[in-house]
Symmetry: C2
Subunit: 546 residues, 2 copies
């Protein structure tokens, strides 16, 4: 009986509002109106200004004919305009498709076409490439050019300049919250490791929950000063585009990343948080002392989030010495960015530096807004956590409200990714203590030699300990006898370039730490191909030895 | 076209899970299994144990025939069992109705009946009252008694003791998450401002979002040590029953609150956070120096949340001197507890102590998970914020996902509360700088005494039953200890004018009908000021006792 009475109570406009991160923008404009939202060079915006400019953009888009569910693409480094684009496009009910501007012309053309892009916001630095891509594909797209007066980057291409465009909109435009929190908010293409990039669709609900979860997981205080080194085209900058609004924080923008800029910005703006691929950490550690000295006076720890290949122990130790607190996170484009983090435990304080570095390389535990992370064996069975099973490999599978809606116009890939009611990451991991995860390898990067699994990540971890090694990548090389054998590609540190170690020396070094079947049978010294964000492009290495 | 493609992507078990705070309990058991969840006297539970005991409770309830949407009531101080009840009852899909055990027998009987309670968990201290209430109302309710071995409180009444009851359940019981996040999770009765108490229904979605929002608003770190001074029967302890699980924190339980206990617990368990009515703050400030000295060595600030009548400036100054950081919050039972907080701004650091105390008494800005707080004039128009309009009174109106589902079995009151698409708080406030709110008065003259709401209408109703009373009005009188106390003004019937009843007589009469905290502490006999139409002018009475 009681059941029925509870059910009688319906949703009303007073007690049910679609979850959407644009709510945080409005709140920031209400309560943090005079606080600084964005800093870029000498320009500073307040939250009131950022909000009003975003309203103008939303209104201008509306006047331009952009409707709910239309795709608006953006091709830009992390500038104030790209921040406004995240807010204004969502306020217009449209879907923001931020594109990696380091991609080649063809791929950008493919994305603009496949995404059904109606309008493109493009930084002047990339407008020539963009207009070429549009012409070559015969696309009908309105092009809004963003000139950068601070860096003297401008052009005459495109239909209109950004400032002229948003001037058409009113700063008090009455935008609407989405009626349905399942409505799409963003479309982010994967890097396309196998074939064409896939369009990952985010919804308002997920972006809202990612913001909330990040505050709890990273233990963020109000008013953080956030250096936006993570490109917004990666999972909308890991969702911090919304999180910082929630917290009334400040974005500090950079067009290009350099150690000098990072140290300068930290010192000048008292940066509290930033994120970066391990390559950024390496750059900071190896920077000149006269750059590092700029942050010597800081009386607080700068929190740094990193993802991807785990940083080697010496890098972590050096980061700690510079008063950086590094936390490893894990996630994919399909999960709105990070959904696990290596939360530090007090009990680990007493371990040695190397033991601590090993733990810091773990991908850790689930973010609070993510529901479940499991490990699945080849037969589709979950591998339960047990401290004694730390060697059983499994695929990371994920359930949660920050898992994508699906792939845009790709039902087959969507169904495969959600097979059995879990999102399949294609990453291989093992359980560590306290149900923490440690990623062993990408499913496709596992090397199977003589029936034995070899984790390329494990071998790379050893290679990184060798004093001459700057970067290392291990891939499978076909072999008549063993099926596959591990082959190593090594980029040497500058001071070893003229005196590289021998194959024998590398193998002897590995032998001290690895089973013999895991020792690279071939070693090649060369500069490694990397993505814009510093990820080593193993597929290029793989094809080079085929 | 793109619109359609975005819509094609349906919800799946991988990417859409009902928001529910019981997710946090499971996560705590997974990742914080060996950490302390609950401390009560010398007993400590880990999160694994608390989770397992909650599973046992859920299973035992299931075996007892409790189904989704059934009401399970609880009448208990903040003990480990009441914490488990929050988790276990929700895991069973049932709705937890925590009852204020300070209420009188009749009101408790009314709530047990009106709530359609199927099973009652009751602390042994209150079982006699509870069984009486059940008998008097001819209710058919299974009674599970909770003995307290730490304080030697036990009984033989009831159908079964709690430990025996949960021993019937398995610790690995496969409970289910709710299918629909709109499903009811809790039923919390208001104090009954006008007539009978109303049953406020919470849903899983709201309790989940309150937890997330509290972390951000109170800037809570991981693993807080939370002294549970706020009764769980108030909005499920302002939602911290879930928040602490989210953060892998520790509850420290107390049966009765005393300054000695609070100082001892803070020192012994290194309490980081607690909440309390202003009366608790007053008690702490006025405590003996030999109690206060116990926390002198603390090297951190204890964060204290307070709600209700704003604490006076000297209290706040003394709290600060003791290294307590006090934050004023505002909310109602209908909003799951707090939905606004007086977030401190750096710019206020330079003000005088009195100016700071004035600001600290503001109800402040919206929590992040709450969507909107507005002020509405008598004509139903929103009063826009403007720094120059700080004297225009308006009713606080609220929109958000932490606004109740509605009142249980009371469609009329539900519709009235949600009139015009806003929840009407019946509290009167004005705007302050930065869109902060300051509550001026309560529409219905609620008296807040020791953190408990007293409806003047209810007390007046009793007074009117006394044979000597012609007219009665009850207003709040300021009180150093209790914040406010109820003061009664009585106009006697003609034939009693020469032989008025004594204060004692009036109080004894009230005691037959009212909980003791509602009994007027002062009574004055006089002709009451009335309007032309005979309405009593309470504001005149209020000013006469200031």
């Amino acid at each position: 009986m009681s059941h029925i009475h509870y059910q009688e109570l319906d949703k009303t406009p007073a007690n049910h509002i679609a979850l959407s991160p644009i709510s945080f923008i409005k709140r920031a404009a209400t309560y943090f109106s005079d606080m600084t939202s964005v800093i870029y060079h000498k320009q500073k915006f307040t939250w009131k200004q950022t909000y009003q400019r975003s309203c103008q953009l939303a209104h201008a888009l509306h006047k331009q004919g952009i409707k709910i569910g239309d795709t608006v693409s953006a091709l830009s480094p992390n500038t104030p305009a790209l921040i406004e684009a995240h807010y204004g496009v969502a306020m217009a009910g449209a879907v923001l498709n931020t594109i990696n501007m380091r991609l080649d012309n063809n791929t950008i053309g493919y994305i603009l076409q496949h995404s059904d892009c109606k309008l493109l916001l493009v930084d002047a630095q990339f407008i020539e490439m963009a207009t070429n891509a549009i012409e070559q594909n015969n696309l009908s797209i309105t092009v809004i050019r963003i000139d950068d007066l601070h860096e003297n980057i401008s052009s005459h291409l495109g239909d209109m300049e950004y400032e002229t465009f948003i001037a058409q909109g009113e700063s008090d435009y009455l935008w609407q919250m989405p009626e349905d929190e399942w409505q799409a908010i963003a479309l982010n293409y994967t890097s396309g490791t196998s074939g064409k990039p896939k369009g990952v669709v985010y919804h308002h609900r997920g972006s809202y929950l990612m913001s909330m979860g990040s505050v709890a997981a990273w233990q963020m205080p109000m008013h953080p000063k956030y250096l936006y080194t993570v490109p917004l085209f990666h999972c909308n900058g890991w969702g911090y585009i919304w999180t910082i609004a929630l917290l009334g924080g400040t974005f500090v923008c950079v067009r290009n990343i350099s150690t000098e800029l990072i140290f300068n910005h930290i010192a000048q703006h008292k940066i509290t948080h930033f994120g970066g691929a391990p390559i950024i950490l390496g750059m900071l550690v190896n920077a000149d002392e006269n750059e590092k000295i700029k942050i010597k006076h800081l009386d607080y720890q700068v929190k740094v989030m990193t993802a991807g290949a785990p940083p080697p122990a010496p890098i972590l130790a050096s980061m700690a010495a510079m008063n950086f607190q590094v936390m490893q996170v894990y996630g994919l484009t399909e999960t709105y960015g990070h959904i696990s983090h290596c939360l530090w435990r007090q009990k680990w304080d007493k371990l040695t530096t190397n033991e601590q570095a090993e733990i810091q390389s773990w991908q850790g535990m689930s973010f609070p807004m993510n529901e479940e992370i499991g490990l699945m064996d080849k037969n589709g069975n979950l591998i339960p956590y047990s401290p004694s099973q730390q060697e059983q490999n499994g695929e990371i599978v994920i359930r949660g409200n920050t898992v994508m809606k699906g792939y845009y116009k790709n039902k087959k890939a969507t169904q495969e990714a959600f097979n059995g009611g879990w999102f399949h990451s294609e990453d291989i991991a093992v359980w560590q203590e306290d149900s923490y995860l440690k990623v062993k390898d990408r499913l496709k990067d596992i090397i199977i030699s003589g029936g034995e699994n070899i984790s390329s990540v494990e071998v790379e971890g050893i290679l990184y300990k060798h004093p001459a090694v700057a970067y290392a990548a291990v891939v499978a090389q076909e072999d008549d006898k063993w099926g596959e054998i591990p082959a190593a590609f090594i980029e040497l540190k500058k001071n070893f370039e003229n005196a590289p170690p021998s194959l024998q020396e590398i193998q002897d070094f590995c032998r001290q730490h690895l089973s013999s079947f895991k020792i690279p049978k071939a070693v090649k010294f060369e500069e490694l191909p990397k993505t814009a964000t510093g990820k080593i492009q193993k597929f290029k290495l793989r094809s080079s030895i085929k």
